[in-house]
């Protein structure tokens, strides 16, 4: 039997898995660990499409980062209502969510999952540890790029945290893995941390447009800094529009160009877009999940519609309120090609949120290529999610100028806005004059240009239109004609489960 050998046999290690002590000795593994940090935005676990989730509790597809980021940014606004009755889902649009809402909880744990795995990578790839493990030369330089990208990804998630949840628990690579109680960081301190992180990694990232597709470069960090500074007043009470202009300018100067055909940014081959600064990749065969783009793309498509969108079936989910429809020239006129409502069998008015045909769905994303070919798989989609794209930076630049940021010019701002208008109208008929370039115009233009791209909630808050009773949409606050809600609803609550698990957390800091 050969089992008399005794206590040494107690040191067992898994056969098909490796431990951190070994894994970082082989540089070939680094890229796979880096890929995990990126894929945390797109996938739900290590077994596609499901079966070995990163975070536990509840439905794996529901736990998707991108899916819940989209829901929390869209369903609470005029861009989306949904008829599904999953517990807590109707509450997102009626704005009466609680701290036990499963969707609010899912994104929260996703954000901190990203933070934790990024911390782990950063901790294991310090210059000292790299040298110790014999990672030298080109590998060493490459590892430093990886590390900077992971710091970017961590910053991206902390940015989602500061934007959606406010004051949150704070952990960095200096905290060891365990079961300690992280301290809560104030929104202002988290803002300062994000600013310092993103400026610190600027020089360590690969120059703009020089990295492999789907990996972050300097422009990704600049785009994130632009968004961070644009919303600084919301986060800290202190406007930082001059800095927003500085970083928007860096992105604009990096060489991105508007994709000629607006629609091509949202198709199965949108990895070819010249406009996308940072995407979340998706693939029907190799990046499979029941969240992510699979939800964002199929969600609004009506049941029974499939071939024309390159999918198995639509889900009859989110529909827009008439506030968004009204931003466009008359429906069906085709004047503004950004108008992507599906109207057949639907009504403009939303008599009942629970009726799946009330309100026009926005079908912006399709699993069809620019040449009309279907994606690689009928159930899972190829279309990537544009987290940052040039058009958004143009509009942020213009807005920062209007908000008295220094270093830019109204003339340039008008030029960028009209670039977008010309593309949308395919001629100059939609162009605006300097007099028309107002903040009110810009929020509407963002609604037209960036609908369904998960920016609406942040935009409405920045423009004072989210909880206030001065701007209403159907069923805002759970009533048909809309109503204002408590101002603390500008933030989502820290989930009850973490308040229980971590006694350092105080929900009152965020107004709850």
């Amino acid at each position: 039997l050969g089992v008399l050998g005794c206590t040494d046999d107690l040191d067992q290690v898994p056969k098909y898995e490796d431990t951190s002590a070994n894994i970082y000795k082989d540089f070939a593994n680094y890229k796979s660990i880096l890929a995990k940090a990126y894929s945390g935005l797109a996938l739900t676990g290590s077994q596609g499409p499901e079966g070995n989730p990163d975070i536990k509790g509840g439905n794996e597809g529901f736990s998707s980062y991108l899916r819940q980021y989209w829901q929390l940014q869209e369903l609470s606004t005029d861009e989306a209502v949904i008829s599904w009755t999953d517990a807590g889902l109707p509450n997102l649009h009626s704005m009466d969510w609680t701290s036990t809402n499963q969707f609010i909880e899912a994104l929260y744990y996703r954000i901190f999952y990203q933070v934790a795995i990024c911390n782990e990578f950063i901790r294991e790839t310090t210059d000292g540890k790299l040298s110790e493990r014999g990672i030298t030369g080109a590998d060493f330089e490459e590892a430093k790029h990886y590390r900077a990208e992971v710091r970017f990804l961590r910053a991206l998630s902390y940015w989602h945290a500061i934007d959606l949840y406010g004051s949150v628990p704070f952990v960095t690579e200096t905290d060891e893995v365990g079961s300690f109680f992280p301290k809560q960081i104030s929104r202002a301190d988290l803002f300062a941390y994000l600013e310092s992180e993103l400026t610190a990694i600027e020089s360590e990232l690969v120059p703009a447009r020089q990295n492999e597709y789907a990996r972050a470069d300097q422009a990704a960090a600049w785009a994130l800094l632009t968004r961070l500074y644009m919303n600084a007043e919301v986060y800290t009470g202190q406007g930082r529009y001059t800095d927003a202009i500085t970083y928007a300018r860096k992105v604009i100067d990096a060489g991105y160009t508007l994709e000629e055909n607006f629609e091509h940014n949202f198709l199965a081959d949108n990895d070819q877009s010249t406009e996308v600064i940072f995407p979340v990749a998706s693939d029907g065969l190799r990046i499979q999940s029941y969240g992510g783009m699979n939800y964002i793309l199929k969600g609004p498509i009506p049941r029974g519609k499939n071939v024309e969108y390159g999918i198995d079936a639509g889900w009859s989910g989110p529909r827009a309120t008439k506030n968004i429809v009204d931003l466009f020239p008359p429906i069906g006129s085709g004047i503004d090609e950004r108008e992507m409502f599906f109207t057949e069998g639907y009504t403009l008015e939303i008599g009942s949120v629970a009726s799946e045909t009330d309100g026009y769905p926005i079908i912006k994303f399709k699993n069809i290529t620019s040449t009309g070919q279907p994606g690689s798989h009928v159930i899972f989609v190829d279309t990537d999610f544009p987290m940052f794209r040039l058009a958004d930076i143009y509009l942020l630049y213009a807005e920062a100028v209007l908000r008295n940021g220094q270093g830019g010019s109204r003339g340039e701002a008008l030029g960028y806005v009209n670039d977008l208008r010309e593309r949308a109208y395919n001629n100059t008929s939609g162009n605006i004059t300097d007099g028309q370039l107002t903040l009110d115009f810009l929020i509407d233009e963002r609604g037209r240009e960036l609908a369904s791209e998960a920016v609406r909630r942040t935009d409405l808050i920045r423009f004072g239109r989210f909880t206030e009773d001065t701007y209403l949409w159907p069923w805002k606050g759970g009533v048909e004609n809309g109503r204002g809600v408590e101002s603390y609803r500008k933030l989502y609550p820290i989930p009850q489960s973490d308040l229980i698990a971590n006694p350092n957390l105080d929900p009152k800091v965020n107004g709850y």
């Binding site: 039997l1 089992v3 005794c6 206590t7 046999d9 107690l10 067992q12 898994p14 098909y16 898995e17 490796d18 951190s20 894994i23 890229k31 796979s32 660990i33 890929a35 990126y38 894929s39 676990g45 290590s46 499409p49 070995n52 975070i55 536990k56 509790g57 509840g58 439905n59 529901f62 008829s83 999953d86 517990a87 036990t100 499963q102 901190f112 934790a116 795995i117 628990p169 704070f170 893995v177 365990g178 992280p182 597709y213 990996r215 990895d271 693939d283 065969l285 990046i287 499979q288 029974g304 499939n306 079936a313 639509g314 629970a354 973490d498 308040l499 229980i500 698990a501 971590n502 006694p503």
Partner: protein
Amino acid sequence: CCSLLAQQIVKGKVTDENGAELPGVNVLIKGTAVGTATDAEGIYSLTVPADQATGGVIVFSFIGYLSEEVAINGQTTVDMRMIPDILTLGEVVVVGYGTQTKKDVTGAMVAVTNKEFNKGQNVTADQLIMGKVAGVQITSNGGAPGSGSQIRIRGGSSLNASNDPLIVIDGVPLDNDRTAGSPNPLSLINPDDIESFNILKDASATAIYGSRASNGVIIITTKKGKAGDKMQVHFSSQGSVSKVVKTLDVLSADEFRAVVGQYANAGDKTRLGTANTDWQDAIFRDAYTYDNNLSLSGAFKKIPYRLSVGRLSQEGILLSSKLERTSAALNLNPTFLDDHLKVNMSLKGLMTESQFADEAAIGTAASFDPTQPIRADYPAYDGYFEWIQGNGNPTGLAPRNPVSILSQQDGRADVKRSIGNLQLDYKLHFLPALRANLNMGYDISESDGTTTLPATMASVMLQGGTHNVYTQKKQNNLLDFYLNYVKELPGLHSKVDVTAGYSYQSFTTKNPASYTLSIQNEGDTLNRVEPVELKNVLVSFFGRLNYSFKDRYLLTATLRRDGSSRFSPDSRWGTFPSVALAWRIMDEPFMQDVKGLTDLKLRAGYGVTGQQDLGATSQGYYPYLARYVRSNAEASYLFGDTYIRTLRAQGYDFNIKWEETQSYNVGIDYEFLAGKVYGSVDYYQKKTKDLLAEIPLPAGSNLTNRLFTNVGEVENRGVEASVNVKAVERGKFAWDIGVNATYNKNEVLRLSKTANESSAGIEVGDIGGGVGNRIQIHTVGYAPYSFYVYKQVYNEQGAPLEGVYEDLTGDGEITADDKYRYHNPAPNVFLGFNTRLSYDRFTLSMVARASFRNYVYNNSAANAYFSNVSQSGYLVNISAAVYDTRFVGPNDANRQYSDHFVENASFLRMDNINLSYHVGKVVKEKLDVNVSATCQNVFVITNYSGLDPETSTGLTNSFYPRPRVFTLGLTLDF
């Protein structure tokens, strides 16, 4: 010489309680050395000295039976019918690493032998002792073939590490993990091969098994041949039919039409069909089971043997589920070297072929639209009705036709398993008091499974059908070695019995990569699950001292030191001591004159046991290691134009360590009227600290959000009592009654991972009807798994008001803070009752169980609100409980947390009624025949409104109903 002349011969025949001849019975003249034993026909002949011929008394004794005394009074023929006895004091009971006589036992333990086993269709071993033993709660997992039971000894001591007892078969401890493709570890033992169960309940009895003993130990001994016996052949055959007793009460087709007409949205109203289908009726059937067993036992030359083969064919009541089991077992137990070397060789082999039904069909059948037909003109779906869209594709998210799920899906698994061991017990020639025992054992299994879903099934239609292939290999190895020294010290009125040993066990599981293949494009891999290989090693050193003084003051002390590969080198060793004292009060001189009382023993024990079983996953086997897991190809990420499989850092807790249970036990064993009334009473207290539980971690602190870690303390306290009465023993008529009762209370004492002890606690208990919703909570000061709910408000007529709950905090709104802790699923009291009435050749036996104040969350009632029928694109049925609440929904997010749906599920269940008739000898007096008829799951009395009040979790949604089983049995012996 006069006395010689006066010698007298007494002859007679000894039979067992069924009238079968009993060979090997000792027949002695009381107070003398004169005696003999019965032969193979149960006949004895005894030469009685003259001085005993009238005043003498013959004593009949046999292991497992009550001793009987008969005054000779000049008789020349004395026949005897022996009565079985579980509490025969001289009985040898099996304890860890050895045996003891019953009277010397200091711990809380119960032996159940095959004479007392439940009768009827018992296809898994646990069913043999259901309801028989105080403190042992056996809950069957539902009605699937071979699905077995959850066994809890004294309530379980962990929160969510394993609460399963350790099962040891012929000296080989099994691992509790499920073998792929087989439903339950005990489903792989043929119940017909089992001789006895010895159930060790308190720590002083179990601590010798250290780290695996916190939840009690069940030692199963299989049947063996006896030295000197000629070959005996035993054949048994049973045929059963299982019938569905009850299905979920849902809306009828007409009720459904009315509800849809009133509450569904306009689009869905048009989807109503014209059929009247009882879907639950359509998926269940009467199921037939055949179980045949043949055994040969005896001694070949000097080698006692028992060889058995068995064949079970069991259908499930759910369409298409089936289990076929072929088993063989061989026991050889020869002795050599003038009985100095005893050898026990045991080999068991088993093959099962299972056909699995997709049990999701049960829940689907309860909720499928009753106005739709089973079959429709849908050739693409093989003629089954399905919810489809305009283009003929299946409607997204809609349920699939449950009959199609069962008829079209083909899930099969073959499992081969072998358990064996060789035990050498050598009594040293130069020092017979010293014995060396070497035990080498293995438990190997191999599973191969396939699941085929044809393209005509709606769930896989768009993928063109799928074919899934999986395999698993498990191998557990065991090596025990111990020395045992027994010394009588007459000068000190003492006896010392010392054992010291070493044990090594390894548990290996290999799951090679499994694949889901496309049927349409043969050879295409749709999905691959990465391979897993796990190994857990336990190394142990143990010792035991049994000391008795004047045969009535008994001490047992044990010590075990265990190392587990599950923990880091800093925390992997645990020490598990125990000590127990027993006082045989009855043997005190001052008790000799007490009338009626024939035995009395007081026991007290204390011990520490451990727990390290975190389940058969990588996380469970290597919880302290910082591991990285590679994704499958379908979970890659894109860099440039290359898809890269990812490496994920797993959550871990470097400091994770043993869960430890300290337990105290005080008990009394008593017997009145020479075995007419006997039993025991025990009080126990178990405190488990450093509990292993999977809890939500503070966000950001680890590499996942929920993880197994050491979290706190729980306490179990209880009293258990048993009484067995031989109420009548008069001629051909005998009546035995056994009753056992257990009171148990659990409480969470500490949850250390939340520093603030006033915090709400840890939410657990996932429920259906919304994703990620939990209904239970662990809170300090409350029972684990307490329901955490809103207090429903009722109107004056007692009907619940929809969406109205008590504002317990009084702040004017209903928030999560208004939840309170209600009851919990564990019963306060459970009872077991068994009785046996025999008259001549007839024996009637019954087993019943009762459970009090076990609460159940009625999940199907909680999802029953009128508007739930309308799902925008398809319709679903709901529980008829909706007529009690008349809830409309759906806008009450708190509905499913209403305490209205937590019900008192106390119950009384008649488990088993068996009538057997001993036909007696036929065919030239060679063949002994018994016939029997059994009904199992006879009835349940309960106020619970759902399907079945007996659940292991307190949560019910869809549940494989327990069938009522009628069995006819025949046994032949010759």
